[in-house]
Each structure stands twice: as C-alpha cells, then as structure tokens.
Symmetry: C2
Subunit: 677 residues, 2 copies
C-alpha cells in the first residue's frame, strides 16, 4: 500500500535512476494529488451499472452516459443499463451540487474516488469535480486474463492550479467546429479547464457579428463561426467542465477588422486580410471616441455568446508605425501627456477595461500590457518569459504562464513538462504565489491546419496538463513518457488523429506509390522549430501545408525510445545486451531507408523534400553502428568520441524542414555510462 | 492517340488477359464516356489561374475554389490567385447556366474537357456538369521529374444513368453531420448524385420535428438532426451536385414513431425504441383518417427541409401481425374489399401517393410495394433481386436497382462491379430500358457506426459509382482494382478514414501493446458477411462495435494483390519468378503472425477474437508455401491438389467473425495455369 504522495517524495529525493524507473503502478495522467492502492479489484461486466442521485443534473447524466460508452467501446462489453437502479449499481456518483452557473476559476474541481471489490463510489462537491473523477475512473481500468476491472484504490484529488488552458489560434488558419470539439474532448480527458479561443488576427476575423456584419463578411474569407456554432461550442465545453475565454486581439494584430471597418484604424487604409505572418502596421485608433463606441457595442454583442467572466484583449506586438505617422494621434498623446506608444496603449487598455467591467468581464492580456497605468484587476498572460509573471505577481496582478508552453515551437514533451509556473525555489511570497493562476499552452496557427492540429497538440499537451494539475514534485520524465504513450492511445480512441497523421499525409506525398519507407523516415524525424521554418520556407496563409514537415510530428515516440535504449545499452543491468541488439537492428533499418527513399523520390517528386533527412539519418545510423562495434571491442577512443559528438551536433541542424529526432539517443549512446536516458 | 471508346471495345472483345492488363494510361474513375489523349501537356505551376465567366454563380465559384485547394494540397504549390483574370487564366470554365433550381434526374451533367499545352477549357451546359468535369480534371493531374501537369486530352463525358445513389441508414446507428458531409465529399469525387437518407427505423427517428416533437424527443435517444443541420446538409450536397432524397420508412420499420405517438400504430402499445435488428410487429394503422392527417402535416413540414421532388416511403418488410390481430383493421379490409395485407399496404401506398402528389413529391418505395393498385408514377427500388426491376419496367414503373449493391454484405468490389442495372443481353424493350433510372448502393447500419462508416463504404463504392456512370463495356476487373487503389488515396486526401481505420481500431484492441501483428492480420482478413455476423454474434443496437471484425475492412487490397501475384506466379511471363519470390515471402510472414498474436493475446484479452483467423491464416500460408515448393519440383499431384482445394474451401468459412481475404489468391495458385487472377 503506497500513496502517490509518498512515492512522489521518494522520486523527488532520489538521484536520477540508472534505468527508466518502474512506474508507480498506474497510468493515470495527470497523476492525482493523493492515491492509495488497496488489495482487490472490482470486475467490469454486464452487471455493471451506474447510479447518480441527481437525475435532474443533465450535465452529470450526459457525462456518465459518455463515460459508459467509452468503457463499452474499449472493453467490447455492453455494460447493462446506462443508469441502473441504485440497488444494482456498482458505481455510485454523488455530487453536492451542479457547480457554478458560469464556471469560474474558483469552481471546486476536487473529487474522491473509492473503488472496493463491492463497488465504486465517486464523490464531489460539484458536477465539475465529478467530471474530473469520471476521467480518472476511465484511466484506472485494467485487464487480466479474466477480463476488465478497476483496481481497489482510494484517490483524493484536486488541481494544483485553477487555470489550466489551451490556446487555439483560429485567426491564422481556421479550424472547423468538429476540430475544436475534438480538442475539447481531449482537454477534458486530461482535466484541462480553459479553451482560450484566439478569434481574430491580421489573417482573419472568425465570429459572425450581426451588429457589425462586415467583420466576418470581409475579414474571414468565409471561414467564420456562426453565432449558433459559437453557442454550440460553448455548451459542448461547459458539458465537459471547460470554460471558453474569447480573445479578440487589439490594438495590434487587427488587420482583418479594418477590411470592413477602416475607420477603426489609425492609418488611412485601404486594408486587406494579411497573408504573410509577422507583426504588421494596422492598429486600432485609440484616440477616437467612435472606436470605443464600436467596441462597446461589439463586446455587448459578443458577451451574449461568451458567458465566461474573463475576456482576453490580446495586447501583444503593437507595431506602432501608424501611431507614429498620424498627426492627430501625436497631438492626442501630447494633450493627454502620453509619453510614448506604451503609454498610449495603456490608455487604450484602461478604456477597454472600463468597457469590459461594465459588461461584467475581467480583462486578460499578453504581458506587453504591463504598465503603471494598468488597472489592478487585469490578468497578465506571460509569453515572453517567466519574468513578467513574477513581476506582475509582485505588483499585485494575477497571472497565467505561457512562456515555455508554445506548442508551435516543436519542442519535446520533456521540455514543456519541466517548465513550472511556480518552480521549486521560486522567490515569491505566498501571497504573490497565490496570484499565479496557472498556465496555458499555445497552439499558434501559422503552420497548422485542420489536417495537422491533432498531431501538433497531442499527445504532448497531456504532459503540460499534468504540470498544471499534479503536485509540483511529479517530474519523472521517464515515467511521464511511459504514461504519455498510454495516453496517446486513449486520445486516439476518443477520435483524435495524431497517430494516423503521419501515415495519412505521407501517403498523399507518395501519391499512389508505396509510402512505407517515407512513413518510417517521418516517424524518426520531426518538424524544425517554428522560427527555422519561418525563415527557411517563408510560408504564408496561402501556402498549402502538406509538406513532409507537415507530415512529421513533434517529439515522435522514437525520440524517447532511442534515448531509453541507449541508456539501457550502456548500463550494467541485465537488459543491456538486448538493448544493444535492438539498437543494432534499428540502425540497420534506418540506413536502409535512404536507398528506398531515393528510389521513391525518383517516382514521386514531392518525396525529395525528405531526402536530406534520409541522408542525415543514414549517417546517424552509421555512427550508431560503429559505436556499438567499438564498444563491443572495448572503451571508446576519446578523440573519436569527440569527433562523433561534433558530427552529431552538426547533423542536429535542420535537414530540409526536418530534424532527426533520434539523434539525442545516439548522442547518449556515444557518451555512454550509467545514468538517465 | 486512342479513344477510350476504342480501347473499351478492344477490352470487351479480347479474351481475358493472361496477366493483369496494362492500364489504359489513366487513372480516371469513373472512366469517361469518350476520351482522346493528345500529344503534349499543360504544366501546373504558380502561373496557373482559373477564370469563369460566371462570377455570380456562387456554387460554381465555391467548387472552383475547392478544386484549387485540393490541387494545392496535393502538389504543394500555391497556384496563384484563386480566380485569375481571363488573360492569365490557364483553365477556363464555361457553363451555359446554373442548372435546375431543384436538381432532378433530368439535370444535364455532361461536360467537355479539353487540355492543350496552352491551357485547359471546361465546358458544360450547367454548373452541375462543370462540377463533374472539375473532378475529372483533378484526377487527370500527373507528375514527372519536372513537376505536375495535366496531359493534353479531350474528354466528352456524360453519365450512363441519371440516378446514381448511396443509401445511408442513420436509423439503426446514428451518423453525425460531419460523417455525412465526408460521404458527400467522396460521392462528388466519383460523380454520384443521390444521397438516399434513411431517416427513420424501428431503432430510431432522426429528424427534429417542430410540429410533432415527440418523434425526435422520444424516438431518437437524443441522436437526431436539428432542422438547421438538415438544411446545412442539403445545401452542402447541392453545392456538390447531389440530391438528397429522404426516406421515412412506413408502414413497417416504424417502431420509433410510436414511442411518442402510439395512436399511429395498429397495435395497442406501449411502444419502445427497438434495440434488436430484424423485422418487427409495430406498423402504422392504415385504416384511420387520423394517420393520414398526421402524415400529411408531417410531410408538409419535412417538405420544407427536403426540396427534392422524390420522396421515399420505404414500404419494405411489413410484418403484418398487428394488422392480422386487429378486429377493426380486419373489418376495414372486409368493407373495402381488401383481400390481404398486401392489398391493405397498396391502399396505404395509394393514400400516401395522393398526399405526396399534393406536396409536389413523387413517391419512391422498395420493391414490396409493386401491386396492381400502385399509382403509375411510383418509382420502384429493387432490393430483393433484379427481377422486380424488370417486372416494374415492363409494367411501366420507373426503377432503381439496389440488389447486388448492398455494402453491408461485405462482398468484394469485383462482385458489385459486375452487377449491371441493364446488363448486356437484357430482354427489355428500349422504352422499358429507359425506365431504369440507375442504381443505389445501400449502407445499412446494423453493424456500422460513425467510427467504421468510411471503411465500409469506401473505396468499394467507387467501383459501383463507375458502374452507374461509365459505359456498360467498362468491366475490366484488374484495371478497376488498379484504379480503385489510386482512388483510395484520393479519397483519403479528401478526409475519408478508410485507410487509417484498421490501425486505429487495432490499437484500441491491443490496449497499449504493440498492435503491428494485429494490424497485419486484419489487413489480410475481412468481416464475415452480414447474415453470418447476425447469427454468430447477434449484436443489438447497444453492442459496442469495436471488435476485431469492426477493425477489419471488406475487400482489403491484399485480396486482389494475392490473386494477381498468384496469376503471375503460375503464368509464363517474365515476371513469374519475381511473383513466386514475393509470394514465398508473404507466406512466411503470414505464418509468423500466429505466434506473435498468440503472445499478444496473452497480454490483451480482446486480441483473442482474432486467434481463429490467425490459425487459419497460418494453415493457408503453409498450403501456399508447399504449393510453391511442389511446383518448383514439377507439376502438382492431382489428388494433392484436390485435397488442398477442399481444405481451402473449409478455411474459407468464418474464423470467429473474420474471413481470410487472401484465400482466393492461394486457390488461384493451387489451381495454377495461365489466365486472369
């Protein structure tokens, strides 16, 4: 009988283990706050029924029905009546109440789940807590030769942070409602609770406005959500305990507004939907009263669609040239004693904050809005670094961390996982620390479309979700990757397409030819980082995103697997010889991909995009093979080792628009020695 | 320079080729009516622009924009402005008019497409014809080492039949709007023009009714389309030149109506949504005026949603016991001189036909409605055999063939492909033959869900679509399979999930373990036929359809590939040794799947479902290997051959709920000799 809390303490105290640590005996993700395993188990069979004392709580009943459906599809067993009478029930769900009418960060999300051989009992103060507990219950299900069961367990769980979000940018590339709903399903599965919906950008304005119809008619290329669709998504999110925080970015990143309403801008226009990506001149005119009248009416209309009490105004990357170029704006600044553009933006923000307050909304903005004149109720979202989060908290502002959680940067799950909104040893007072509400991962959409979104967000996002929910001490990377692999399968069963992504897109690139070598290569590579792709390819909104780089996915499983094998191969445990054999086989297979792809590329020109990566991989494989051979013959020559490490560093550069994901594993092999992967 | 028509004539006249015939030099599907290849080609690059003289034709402009988007995603090239000015245009689209306001079977769908090195020109009498031509244009795109191009060609194309449909049954299992839209996208790609939407069943009533809200509130388990969704789907279909013909099945198959409105039924109730599949007692009461008043108001409401001039009343499988049991119904029959249930149903049909006529709709029904009292304007859909089609045509009824096109029966594409609504040598007069409007494939949903629908319909449906569109003489099975493989990739690029299906579902069955052996086994097997599964498993609407049988797909590529290899291996052409080597390798791989799956099944119990198939496949592989060995040593012993063929016939039986798809190929190998696969 071990508690998770105890296990965590041990894990945190221990030196890095020499081989991947054995898991804590479960695959829960995020790890609950406390968990006690007990002897025994509860079988899942056709006698399994669920009862809830709240038949009138539609949200709870729908959640239970969904949970049973997922259980049935996984186990292949019809689990009797959806809602059984309480006498026959094997799962009892008890909630203290339905939760807030409009969910807030103060919502109680905690729950207790107790499984004994005679039944399971889920208790929560609110329906939202029960939703979280149902997800845990589904993750607990295990199997043995007799069938499916829940292990006996007692879990008392509550989130570490009240704000656990995912930003989805539908401005730069649109995402249809189905794609958004898929993300919401997956978010609920890992206990995220905020969809930050980035709805306007230079490249598109995405919501139907009855009041100002030229916004969507001229600013969206026809790709916008109707008001009915917005209501549908918001209701779908609420059913899963997820808040929807809208962002309408201003005063910059606003070109699309001005196509229909140029009078809102600081320049003379005309304006067009921006096709490039970057920071552009078109900016709201903060000196005219008509601007605020327009935005007041706009927010009044949109507030009817977005019930959340928080409202994101953006505020990032104000380019400034239109303000500098306008005589009337300069005159206004002088008259108001506004020293610079930052002061003018602060003036704008103060006016916006007043309008939002009048509509019952609290303002959120990116960290550029930090300014002495900023109203104290504002929430700061830090994206340029952790510094702004600490600075804001010290000045009394509530804050959310996004720096370190940019999914478009194509970092590994490990990288994001180890970023902490409040890391051990932070220097904030308890009161200041209490202002850190949590974090948000950001899925910016320069290089993302409906086809690739699942593979860009998932399963890495599950590691970030754990960072936001679980105790700070949960940071065993090897165990995270083990559970992330399980989570990937769960998410796919929910309808996400991250696993199917590479084969599907590779088949299109192969254009009717056998795509298997290309699929294999892509599973060993990943897209270059955001900035690299931007400068190497310079894609615009009109570039079709169906290249090899789009078919690859960030942090493919081969990355960690190769590192783990390399650590095992150079360790002294009994699994070392098997690990060396497996690595040798892999290196041979990697090398064989080059001739296969060479041949394929002669028949299908688009495969050529992948040839630089295939060549680099062949060289990586050769280094790996030679390392194994040399190690078998004794220790490595230090000069040879240095040369190979230098070569591997060179090979780590972008190869076309791909990067070889398995190089860190080969580096680990060349370095050698005991220690973590 | 060969015309397709000439090639077809040659193909029809020739004896079956000894090896798979070389393709006709294109991968078009369906094959156009006439096609002339010419020297030269038109490059697709960033100078490629499209113009249409009809800027006000929104349907045409949207179709061109979609086509360009698909081209761009395939080629990875931004093709300049969506609609270029006519001077720079490389593709000109000219239409005579927008087509009918409500598309009918009389709509002109023909088009001419001419590609020369200086440009492409698409001409059609109507926008619908242009939609068909755009699909052909997309299929013409080829590549060489310099990039992408359209070959110079002249195509004059027109459909063989005006009614080319797909029935989707959303009554037994619901399909969400996205799934329906995916099917419509794919239907348009193969020039189908009718979605027959089977909207009510014993197991569910799927449309929101404002007038009679208990229909969807009590008859659907919450799975129904709102009226806004219906309008959205109908508009989406119209944009693709597809009519939507609603079916509300009556007087039988109607249990779900009676849950909310038991007074419509012939029995005393109470009624419940039926969970089993089959033919059930609940039946409309055709003797009460209130029934017709209800249905009149219902059709008035639904006619506002479904503009098509055809309306399907079902009419199949009237069970009859409620009519026999009711004294008042028996009295009515006696008073009206209605001799039997068939006569009573004819009475009902005549009343329904009058109501439909009043609402401007022409009645369609299943072949059971054929009866001397049936109004002459009725369209008969034949499902029990081709006989009813011929019989109806002889009696003056228009008809549609569905017998032979039941996708749920899990037949091969070849089987469906060779069924012809008007086969060579039919005995109808030209006038009678003219009454055969075409055909419809049927996707009944006893064993199909949102997860599996793509894999059940596609790509087999493309072969049926070719049967409905292309000249009768197009029936080269080998060439059909070659083009079907290409079509599968095109459909996947459109968003269909038939290729991703087996890996995705297999990963769920493997439940976190390595699924590769299971995926491989499933790619060599297919689901048992509909009736076999019904009797072996007896699934109900509540059975989760996530079994190995659901993960397999009908007619996997391995079926035809093995047959083609076997034909090559026993032929006398130079490729015979290579074919024998490839078969030997395949047999070895098949045999190795059994130990791999045995091991996997010990860890994940659900994989056990696949073990009977793995055992049978291992035996098939052994027979294949032995055949190759014996052939290498000389000719086969006739007694041994007979014994092996008998054994293969036995192995062709259901193995669990799977059937070994590659057995016909091994049979072909054992049989030996020159000839077709």
């Amino acid at each position: 009988m071990i508690t998770t809390a105890i296990w965590l303490a041990l894990a945190a105290a221990a030196v890095p283990p020499q081989t991947p640590a054995p898991g804590p005996g479960h695959s829960l993700m995020p790890v609950p706050a406390t968990m006690v395993r007990q002897p025994g188990l509860l079988r899942l069979d056709s006698t399994f029924g669920v009862t809830s004392g709240e038949p009138g709580d539609g949200r709870l009943q729908r959640a239970i029905a969904r949970a049973i459906g997922r259980l049935e599809r996984r186990t292949g067993t019809a689990l009797g009546k959806r809602i059984a009478d309480s006498g026959r029930a094997r799962l009892t769900v008890e909630v203290g109440g339905p939760g807030e009418a409009v969910q807030s960060p103060e919502e109680n999300e905690s729950y207790r789940l107790e499984v004994t051989p005679s039944g399971a009992r889920l208790q929560a103060a609110t329906t939202v807590g029960a939703l979280r507990g149902l997800e845990t219950l589904l993750q607990l299900v295990e199997r043995d030769s007799l069938g499916w069961y829940l292990p006996a367990v007692r879990i008392d769980d509550t989130p570490r942070f009240p704000w656990r979000g995912l930003l989805i940018d539908v401005g730069r590339h649109f995402e249809p409602v189905e794609a958004i709903k898929r993300q919401l399903e997956a978010m609920a599965a890992v206990k995220l609770n905020v969809l930050h919906w980035h709805l306007s950008e230079d490249q598109g304005f995405r919501v139907e406005s009855i009041r100002h119809p030229l916004l969507h008619q001229r600013g969206s290329d026809g790709h916008y959500y109707t008001q009915a669709e917005i209501r549908d998504v918001v209701a779908f999110a609420r059913d899963r305990g997820i808040r929807v925080v809208p962002e309408f970015d201003m005063p910059g990143h606003a070109s699309a507004w001005f196509v229909g309403y140029p009078e809102l801008a600081s320049g003379t226009g005309p304006y067009a939907i921006e096709r490039r990506f970057g920071v552009f001149a078109p900016t709201f005119d903060p000196t005219r009263e008509t601007t605020y009248q327009f935005l007041d009416a706009f927010i009044a209309e949109m507030a009817g669609l977005f019930p959340d009490r928080y409202w994101h105004i953006g505020g990032d990357e104000v380019e400034g040239s239109e303000w500098r170029a306008s005589a009337s704006i300069r005159a206004f600044m002088q008259a108001q004693g506004l020293a610079d553009n930052a002061a003018l933006q602060a003036h704008f923000n103060r006016r916006m904050s007043e309008i939002l307050t009048r509509h019952g909304r609290r303002m959120v903005g990116w960290d550029e809005i930090l300014h002495p004149a900023l109203p104290a109720t504002t929430v700061i979202q830090s994206w340029r670094g952790q510094q702004a989060l600490r600075e804001g908290a010290a000045k009394g502002y509530s804050g959310i961390l996004s720096a370190g959680y940019y999914l478009d940067h194509m970092q590994t799950a490990e990288f994001h996982y180890l970023v902490d909104p409040l890391p051990a040893g932070h220097i904030l007072t308890p009161e200041e620390a209490g202002r850190v509400m949590g974090g948000e991962a950001c899925m910016w959409h320069e290089h993302v479309t409906e086809e690739s979104i699942d593979s860009r967000i998932w399963p890495r996002m599950a590691a970030i979700a754990e960072r936001f929910w679980s105790p700070r001490e949960v940071r065993d990377v090897a165990d995270m990757y083990r559970r992330l692999g399980v989570m990937g399968g769960r998410l796919e069963a929910l309808g996400l397409g991250h696993e199917s992504h590479t084969p599907r897109m590779a088949r299109r690139l192969a254009d009717g030819q056998d795509a298997s070598a290309l699929i294999r290569l892509l599973s060993l590579t990943q897209p270059v980082q955001f900035g690299e792709r931007s400068s190497l390819q310079r894609p615009t909104q009109l570039t079709p995103l169906t290249f090899a780089v789009d078919a690859a996915r960030p942090d493919p499983p081969a990355h960690w697997r190769t590192r783990a094998l390399a650590a095992a191969a150079t360790g002294s445990l009994p699994d070392a010889p098997a690990a060396r054999r497996e690595l040798a086989a892999r290196f041979a297979e990697w090398a064989a991909l080059l001739p296969a792809l060479d041949s394929l590329a002669r028949r299908t020109p688009r495969v050529r995009e992948a040839l630089p990566a295939a060549r680099a991989l062949a060289r990586v494989a050769a280094i790996g093979s030679e390392t194994l051979t040399r190690r078998a013959g004794g220790s490595l020559d230090p000069a040879w080792t240095r040369a190979r490490l230098a070569e591997l560093a060179t090979l780590s550069a972008p190869q076309g628009l791909l990067r070889i994901s398995v190089i860190p594993g080969v580096v680990r092999l060349v370095r050698g020695g005991e220690g973590p992967p």
